[in-house]
Symmetry: D2
Subunit: 136 residues, 4 copies
Amino acid sequence: MTAAAFEREQTVRFGHCDPAGIVFYPRYFEMLNELVEDWFAHGLGLPFAQLIVQRRIGMPTARLDTRFKRISRLGDRLCQRLYVERVGGSSLMLAIAFDGSDGTRVEFDQLLVCTSLDTHRPQPLPADLRVALETL
Amino acid sequence: MTAAAFEREQTVRFGHCDPAGIVFYPRYFEMLNELVEDWFAHGLGLPFAQLIVQRRIGMPTARLDTRFKRISRLGDRLCQRLYVERVGGSSLMLAIAFDGSDGTRVEFDQLLVCTSLDTHRPQPLPADLRVALETL
Amino acid sequence: MTAAAFEREQTVRFGHCDPAGIVFYPRYFEMLNELVEDWFAHGLGLPFAQLIVQRRIGMPTARLDTRFKRISRLGDRLCQRLYVERVGGSSLMLAIAFDGSDGTRVEFDQLLVCTSLDTHRPQPLPADLRVALETL
Amino acid sequence: MTAAAFEREQTVRFGHCDPAGIVFYPRYFEMLNELVEDWFAHGLGLPFAQLIVQRRIGMPTARLDTRFKRISRLGDRLCQRLYVERVGGSSLMLAIAFDGSDGTRVEFDQLLVCTSLDTHRPQPLPADLRVALETL
């Protein structure tokens, strides 16, 4: 059983919920992006403000497979865990779970690809990101 | 080559785009939900206000596999097409493509499950939805 | 009684609504931005993709006073009307109403300021925008 | 100089920012709602999950006047302070500021009205909320 590369907690907020009183699924993807953003900033030491704005290196999502297993309600605490499944030359494969008190709520397999924001074409992962990934 | 069960056009808006000037991927899922909502209202004759609010029948997403193939920019026109892949006892499998002028931008395989909003448990597709699906 | 400079209709969508079953107020501001975006594109002939991305001219909001008068529910049709109250050297004052079947739902007074996106400082309204405003 | 009734910090996230690289203003209202939500949960001891979902007491916004004074960029830290300006029979007037390192970025005057979520009509503030407000 591997340890998660990064985790954080997230409360389900009013703004996440729909008229059925449960999380509106596009909001899970906003949470997912925040988790990856926090991992880059606090886990890998590469805040998006530096990576994306200053260095114009993008990490867009190429594939994202999601399994919604249980509903989440307003006020629920979600434990969000991120695992690195594979580091490629210009890509990262992540496995992510959002868990509630009754088990896993949502699971994601997310493939991130490193791109130039000038050309939007793939490019090798930058050296400092690669080092940070190796020392997780 | 099957015809799409439903299609609509969507312009990429300012509010969809991120600091890299391209669609922020959680916004694609908001667009996807709007497409399905429009299909239910205008294609199947079952607006969510009736189905979800009055009849308390939910159609939450159980699986959603997404391939992001090309970027979309502010002002782009997306042709959104929805195909019904399979109608199960209490579920619907959809295949959806958002196409731009240069080809497919995003593809989704979405499994919707019919639930009771009182119990959040699966239940058979309602008869009028089944009839509407058969006469597509 | 002045005529509106621009109007459009908007259906209240599932994604706009909160667990109370009514529009979550931040979503009204997303609708407001879309209305102004459509006015620039279709009323004034200046799509944001040109103005903001290509010419790097911003139209950020400096003041926004909002009165929420009646609730809106999923499926409601909103008639959105935009009035130009005042054209200044580098600013535009707008009055906007979202009306439902029972009267006005929300009213906005919005002050837009023309800025350079390189310096984020105010600058005179561009000549083609001024011409378009004069020929409304 | 009164002390703030509640404060929290918020980082400007990738998902808050627009193609101009600055906060898209509807996202400020999402942040505002989260601040008020956190104040109710952690400052007043009345989480929305109890107040809104269980007790069906709403606190919708009736007026909201906003002054956008300086731009905020990706990665900026915002200090968010909330002041209670007036407690009425069925309403609360709040003054809120989001401050960055260079001064105030946004100021809000927000009027919240207590309503029944069954009738959507105003009703007196509940006794426990009134007590919590008096002992701030």
